[in-house]
């Protein structure tokens, strides 16, 4: 049983997780009216996908994941109290993606290294230092705490913060085939809406 669970999780890691940037791009199409967060759709899609006990029978993980995402979007639409005309109109126009995303879009190592180093450089100073010592130099959290004069729990907080920043960065990295304007991200639009 435990092995079965581990196999299922390994399948999820291998086939579904690398689709994140494409799923996110796909999810954005359902969220043009700003009522639903595309990241939430992807988050829910992952939760439903990893639950699949019959994963061995899935021949096309990309098509499988996009189908789940579409269902998640439909459910979110149904949950709404007020349906806007544009939301429904938009929804009807969205075709399943013509070419199912594949797991082969992992970044080239060089490019990925650059992306990761760039992400670390963007972290606040102390967080960046903690993260650098942990991931580049492989120091233990205890060693880092002593070196920087911090508590272990503070070191953990910095590591969590850095990891969260990087995992989102990796997840938003647009696959080569997708052409979505990254500048118009959800959070930017939401802030804009909130100000109105």
């Amino acid at each position: 049983m435990a092995q079965e669970d581990e196999d299922r999780r390994a399948w999820f890691r291998r086939e579904i997780l690398p689709l994140e940037p494409d799923l996110l791009a796909y999810a954005r199409q359902f969220c043009r009216d700003g009522q639903t967060d595309p990241e939430d759709l992807v988050h829910e899609t992952f939760a439903r996908a990893i639950a699949c006990k019959t994963w061995r029978e899935i021949g096309n993980p990309g098509a499988f994941a996009t189908r789940i995402l579409r269902n998640c979007a439909l459910d979110a639409l149904r949950r709404r109290k007020v349906l806007t005309i544009t939301a429904v109109a938009d929804f009807d126009r969205i075709e399943p993606i013509d070419e199912a995303p594949t797991a082969q879009m992992m970044l080239e190592s060089r490019e990925e290294l650059r992306l990761l180093a760039g992400a670390i450089a963007e972290l606040p100073t102390q967080c960046r230092r903690v993260f650098t010592l942990r991931k580049v130099y492989s120091l233990s959290p205890e060693d880092i705490a002593v070196r920087l004069g911090l508590s272990v729990s503070t070191v953990e907080k910095h590591l969590v913060k850095g990891l969260r920043y990087c995992s989102d960065k990796l997840g938003r990295r647009i696959g080569r085939k997708s052409k979505v304007d990254e500048g118009r991200s959800w959070s930017a639009r939401r802030d804009h809406d909130a100000k109105r």
Binding site: K135, E156, R164, L170
Partner: protein, 333 residues
Amino acid sequence: MERETGSRREAVRQAAALWVVRLDDPSCSAADRAAFEAWRDDSHEHEAAYEREAAAWARLERLRALRPGMERPDRDLLAERRPSVARTPWARGMAAAAAIALVVAGTMTFDGGAAYATAIGERRVVVLSDNSRIELNTDSKVVVRYRKGVREVKLIRGEAVFEAARDARPFVIKAAHAVMEADGSTEMAVRLRSDGAAVTVKRGAVDLDPAPTERKDDLRLTAGVTAIYSSAGSRSRAVSDSEIDRALAWRQGAIALNGQSLEQAVAEFNRYNRQQIRIADPSISGLRLAGYFQTTEPNSFVSAVTSAFPVRAAAGSDGAIRLTRRVVSEKTG
């Protein structure tokens, strides 16, 4: 309401990230692991979120490739702008060493690049249009090609020091199949070897891709690191400032030896002089030398060697200076 889902998502991802960090901590206990499994069993949402953060954590392992070969960890290694390295007395002395000719005009090559070369024993400083500098050592050649969007320099022969000026365009150095991209205001030396090359970074940092055709990681070389790459692979190590200054003593017209073998020292002198030196007796090639010599004066080097070691110098039939072991009877007689 949608905001709530967003913050709920973030809370789950935060919790997942904390588990990833904890489980990777060497001091993680069995109780921690049990608590984690209980948390993961709560929901598939937790399970999936954990896998997502764990995958990112694993991908971040790549960052270890950026670690220079230094013993002391640099917490600011990945900072946006690195604090500038203190200039050594040798670096300050460089202004005085500008006695070498400034070369501005090069030879145009057929494809629009400009070639600059030196003969044996010659040194040259080339100042490029963006104020980047190239200092060519003996018997060396570079081709400079500044195009739209990229400053490209190819080391064809020998050895050179590159000082990249700050510019919006990347400064790219090609040498023996490898491609290097230097940060603005980087000072680095590249010396071609029979296979591959040696790269030493004196100031700034450079990304070295030893085999661009292969899917291998770049090497990030920072100040105080030297790397050697060849078709067999690449390795890097930390070097002290004085070691770098000795390696670059040629910029002052000198060869600085610090425990090199006679064989290495002779090979070094032969780079700079038409008057070649040959070791005719393999039993003396392992002698260790230290000292500071003018590149253009092989004779003073030879006399230093013959006075300090049981070595005899004689003119060979090919005009070269032949070094042999001096037998004791010769010394007394």
